[in-house]
């Protein structure tokens, strides 16, 4: 097992190198000039050129790559073109909101999706099954921002039960922290509930047809025990796979929700950096996301050994 983990971690190095190279080249070869953006709309061509020179953007590409790689190897992501702050500092400031949103979304998702999926599978063909599948289709179909605006309108503007926007760190108090996460988490969780409920249903239906389930029924075990101890446990591998993929997508996919609810997380940092052509920030954020994806995939693979004793590395 240790050797497997070590091998997988070592394998992330070439992945990250390729990602770094790809992002570096893509940014510099696509339209957009950070110097022009920094200089502002009223700047003269001479002012823009000065800034380009100062940022090293006139240096040959290989030179820029060597400089950036050298710093990266020392753990230095560089300084943002705009903020005159270290990129690592910017990322650290934004991690907490995104993590809070992602974790709260996943908690709601798992608490709702898995039971729904199991029940739908148990009552396959019945009205519960149809309702759950209908909800699943609706969940995929409604854009996140539409649902977000709707929830804001109902619960924040009209009923005034919850705030419209913003984020409070948990250090500012548990209720202010939770209060501002409720609506964004609900908004974001709908699509994941739809996805995971569907996969859970399909996976459990598969398992419910197995001989050992028939045996368990024949033994007279209660339905709850059959579903949870036997069916769900054996159906867990594909469910965990999709949950893991969902978590990975969530981290990168919270940008719309962060914008609608004004949560200053990594998603918004990425969008702002892309729109502003803030190369150091974009490069750093993508590398961080890539590493997280690799880590999450590793954790998914390791979880299989807990769920299925036949799986060993």
């Amino acid at each position: 097992m240790t050797a497997f983990i070590a091998r997988r971690l070592l394998a992330t190095i070439p992945v990250l190198v390729l990602v770094a190279l790809f992002v570096f080249l893509m940014l510099r070869l696509t339209p957009g000039d950070p110097a022009a953006i920094i200089a502002g709309d009223n700047a003269s061509p001479a002012q823009i050129e000065d800034i380009r020179e100062r940022l090293g953007l006139n240096d040959p590409l290989p030179t820029q790559l060597v400089i950036w790689s050298g710093r990266l190897l020392q753990g230095d992501f560089g300084e943002s073109f705009f903020f005159k702050k270290q990129v690592s500092e910017l990322i650290l400031q934004r991690v907490e909101p995104t993590l809070a949103l992602a974790v709260s979304t996943m908690i709601i998702t798992l608490l709702v999706a898995i039971p729904l999926g199991v029940i739908a599978a148990w009552r396959q063909g019945g009205w519960i099954d149809r309702v759950v599948m209908g909800f699943s289709v609706a969940g995929f179909s409604i854009p996140v921002f539409v649902l977000g605006y709707l929830l804001i309108y109902i619960f924040a503007v009209e009923l005034k039960w919850l705030p419209v926007q913003g984020y409070r760190s948990i250090t500012a108090g548990l209720w202010p922290f939770l209060q501002r996460l409720i609506l964004p988490s609900l908004t974001l969780s709908v699509i994941y509930i739809a996805l995971i409920a569907r996969i859970t249903r399909a996976s459990v239906i598969d398992v419910l047809g197995e001989d050992y389930i028939r045996t368990a029924k024949a033994k007279g075990l209660p339905n709850r025990t059959i579903l949870i101890r036997h069916a769900l446990r054996n159906a867990a591998v594909p469910i965990v796979t999709i949950v893991g993929i969902g978590v990975a997508l969530l981290i990168g996919g919270v940008v719309v929700t962060e914008s609608v609810y004004n949560i200053p997380g990594l998603g918004r940092l990425t969008v702002d950096a892309v729109l502003g052509r803030d190369f150091p920030t974009i490069q750093a954020v993508i590398l961080v996301f890539s590493f997280l994806y690799v880590l999450i995939n590793l954790l998914i693979d390791l979880s299989y050994t807990l769920l299925d004793p036949r799986i060993r590395y």
């Binding site: 502002g40 003269s44 061509p45 000065d50 020179e53 943002s80 926007q165 004004n262 702002d272 052509r277």
Partner: protein
């Protein structure tokens, strides 16, 4: 646990709380800090108002810095940090004496040396500043509060330059900071303005925090535009980054913020429908749209073709397409903006109504061969998005072939700096908007610079225009300056530097029950604003 035990526990807890509650009740309540929460049009990224011309950074500059002179609402130049000044009879020596008691946020006094260094740094970047310094032979400190500016020849825009209201504003900084190379960003943010920038509380993309500078010494006059007494009436101002317009509008309606600087025009009806919200046009001079042509490549390298484009365009379609509500726009023939000292209609009235037949006739005279106009269309800024489609339509009606290419604004900003042919990544035309304060005269307005390769994007080249601008700059008689400004406008329309395609206004939305006192000005000002609910 029995219900009896649970009740007993509750009673014990309540008993323990009584002394604490009594203590709190007896304590003298501290004065609550007043905080103004504002959503600006953009997140503050760069905090050096000399390094960039971005308006959000200019607005930040107004919070923490002050200026030697400033414009009031009548567009008159009045002293701000300066107490008295004198000009020699030969108009070659200006001597400025600062007001008593001016302090930097770090507790040091403002000195003449600080001001000299600040002017130099500003002038290294700003075109109006560069023009000023080209006339200056020497600046020196006479004493701690007084400095002189020696000119090589008379220059009519000395005070106007030092009172420049918009980017780049000649903000004053301590000498040690002002000596930072203008090509590097400053790393200390010490000013002498009414608010202090709380750098440690600044979270880019989230919140910018300013606190009242208690040692600020305001002028005794009433505040007027960028001039007069700047009294900070709140303890703290927070600029909250909120990129989603709908969310910002909802936050204002729900009372979570106090002021929304620039609500998009299509959402104004929501705000107008709220009893708690006041829509206030705090910049009555507004903004002006510009259609800019590239002189370097066909077809706009031909003067007659540029004149044809001007004939085809007219202001109202642009304004209707973007702003919609006539309450927030104005058809204005004046290139230097209506309701200002240099507002004339001569020449500029060509843009009041399209003349497609004239456009076609001019194209025929010019021998136009159908070369497509590569028109850049920005898609992600609400105040600009609909401009290019309108321009394309009007130009086509005037006989042009148009190739409209859509892109985000930042790509447009990068591409407009390219001098290559359109087919090689260059361009023929684009549209943008200017705040009125940026285009009040032929020197501050970048569009009239026809110094060929040194001009603003579009690179117009016209010796006669440069002579007129030079004459304007050196003229010290106000009436003659006005006449020269008129001649500049007529010449600009004749040679086709650009077309001014409409004046428009951006109201600010304010919660009536939470804030009051917002002043008119070329930028949003937060001195004089007070909170109603604390």
């Amino acid at each position: 646990m029995t219900w009896g035990r649970s009740i007993a526990r509750s009673l014990l807890a309540a008993a323990a709380a009584v002394p604490m509650i009594a203590g709190l009740a007896a304590a003298t309540p501290a004065a609550a800090e007043t905080t103004l929460r504002v959503v600006m049009h953009s997140d503050l990224k760069i905090v050096d108002p000399i390094w960039t011309t971005a308006y959000i950074t200019r607005n930040h500059g107004y919070m923490i810095y002050d200026t030697l002179f400033a414009m009031n609402e009548k567009l008159e130049v009045t002293p701000q940090m300066v107490d008295t000044w004198k000009v020699s009879d030969d108009k070659l020596t200006y001597t400025f004496t600062l007001r008593d008691g001016l302090m930097w946020h770090d507790g040091q006094p403002v000195t003449a040396e600080d001001c000299i260094a600040s002017i130099k740094r500003w002038a290294a970047k700003d075109s109006m500043g560069q023009k000023l310094l080209s006339f200056v032979s020497e600046m020196k400190a006479v004493d701690a509060k007084t400095f002189s500016m020696q000119l090589k020849s008379p220059y009519g825009l000395v005070l106007l330059s030092l009172a420049k209201p918009s980017s780049n504003v000649p903000f004053m900084m301590p000498k040690r900071i002002a000596e930072t190379s203008p090509n590097d960003q400053i790393s200390e943010y010490v000013g002498s303005g009414p608010f202090v920038f709380e750098k440690d509380q600044w979270k880019p993309g989230d919140k910018t925090v300013y606190t009242k500078f208690k040692e600020y010494k305001p002028r005794s006059e009433a505040p007027s535009w960028a001039a007069g007494g700047k009294i900070a009436k709140v303890d703290r101002v927070e600029w909250i980054a909120m990129p989603d317009h709908q969310t910002a509008v909802n936050a204002l309606v729900a009372g979570e913020i106090d002021i929304l600087e620039a609500p998009p025009h299509d959402l104004l009806p929501i705000l107008a429908g709220s009893d708690d919200v006041l829509l206030h046009n705090n910049n009555p001079l507004g903004n002006q749209y510009m259609f800019r042509m590239n002189w370097l490549h066909p077809p706009f390298n031909n003067q007659k073709v540029r004149q044809a484009a001007i004939a085809a365009l007219s202001q109202e379609p642009f304004l209707q397409a973007v702003i919609g509500n006539p309450e927030y726009y104005k058809v204005c023939p004046a290139m230097f903006v209506c309701d200002t000292p240099f507002a004339f209609s001569e020449g500029g009235d060509k843009l009041v109504k399209s003349d497609f037949e004239k456009s076609k006739a001019l194209l025929k005279e010019a021998g136009y061969d159908g070369t497509p106009v590569t028109l850049m269309h920005s898609t992600d800024l609400q105040v600009l998005t609909n401009l290019a489609p309108v321009a394309a339509d009007l130009l086509r009606k005037g006989g042009f072939t148009v190739d409209m290419q859509s892109m985000d604004w930042q790509t447009l900003v990068s591409r407009r700096a390219k001098k290559e042919k359109p087919a090689e990544g260059g361009w023929n035309a684009f549209l943008t908007s200017w705040v009125a304060a940026d285009i009040l005269n032929p020197i501050s307005a970048a569009g009239y610079n026809t110094d060929c390769q040194k001009s603003w994007f579009g690179w117009p080249c016209d010796e006669e225009m440069e002579k007129l601008r030079e004459a304007f700059a050196t003229e010290t008689d106000a009436a003659k300056q006005k006449d020269l400004a008129k001649q500049v406008q007529i010449r600009a329309m004749e040679i086709g530097t650009h077309a001014h395609v409409g004046q428009w206004y951006q109201p600010t939305a304010i919660r009536k029950d939470k804030a009051e006192g917002m002043l008119n000005g070329p930028a949003p000002f937060f001195w004089n604003v007070s909170k109603k609910d604390g």
